[in-house]
Subunit: 123 residues, 2 copies
DNA sequence: CAGTATCCACGTCGATACTG
DNA sequence: CAGTATCGACGTGGATACTG
């Protein structure tokens, strides 16, 4: 078969899936879907995200055409990150994922506790 | 604030998001949503996935209550992995993501090429 | 403010070998 | 068949320091 097949490592779809199946992408696009934000704003907005990784992630998001980066020659310099139309369609697809996580976390934590208890009992 | 907030690293939602924002989860649940499968079947089904990582991933999927693991005392032993109802709701949320990747890969590859060309020109 | 550069600790992954 | 155990290579990420 020649149709896109995410299960085949050679398929470009897989590269893209690898790319978007990344927690920072989900969170950053989620923020930028709300409004345009500046670098340190994003940094503060996502807890636990280091400056280095934020920088890397934004660069690849820009490369993929999901966000734009605008530099304003103020002093000090102002940089604004905005989501693109393409990025917005992805953010829309990602949103249900975050909602799923939020609404099912209790069930999953329970499942984990049960599993760990069974493991404990078996050992 | 005490409501679920995926942007806060301390929130359990974040752990779950980290967990499901994983490429193997997406692909494995996608396969198991179709039908119950055996270990080596899954291994063959997902290109580039090593035995070790498959084993780890399945274990954590089981721990989270997303798949079940059934052992049949045949010779040699038969192990079947099946998606749970919970897993099915997640798979359903994940499906649009794969479709998005498949339908937008051309645009993204173009964006990457453009970006790289601009970088090249700037350097 | 918005990064880049460097170093290093860490974990993860693939390859290989072995088991019930 | 369905794993586990071990090892070594590798890359990613955090901390820190510096720059326009």
């Amino acid at each position: 078969m020649n149709s896109p097949d995410a299960f085949n490592a050679l398929c470009p779809t897989r590269q893209i899936l690898d790319r978007i199946a990344d927690k920072w992408t989900v969170l950053l696009l989620g923020l930028l879907a709300g409004r345009t934000m500046r670098f340190n704003e994003l940094r503060r907005g996502v807890d636990g995200l280091s400056q280095k990784v934020l920088s890397q992630t934004l660069k690849s998001l820009e490369r993929d055409g999901l966000v734009t980066r605008a530099v304003y020659p103020t002093v000090p310099v102002t940089v604004e990150y905005a989501i693109t139309d393409l990025g917005r369609t992805l953010a829309a697809t990602l949103e249900p994922l975050r909602l799923w996580a939020e609404s099912h976390m209790n069930v999953i934590e329970q499942a984990r506790a049960d599993f760990d208890r069974r493991q404990q009992a078996a050992a």
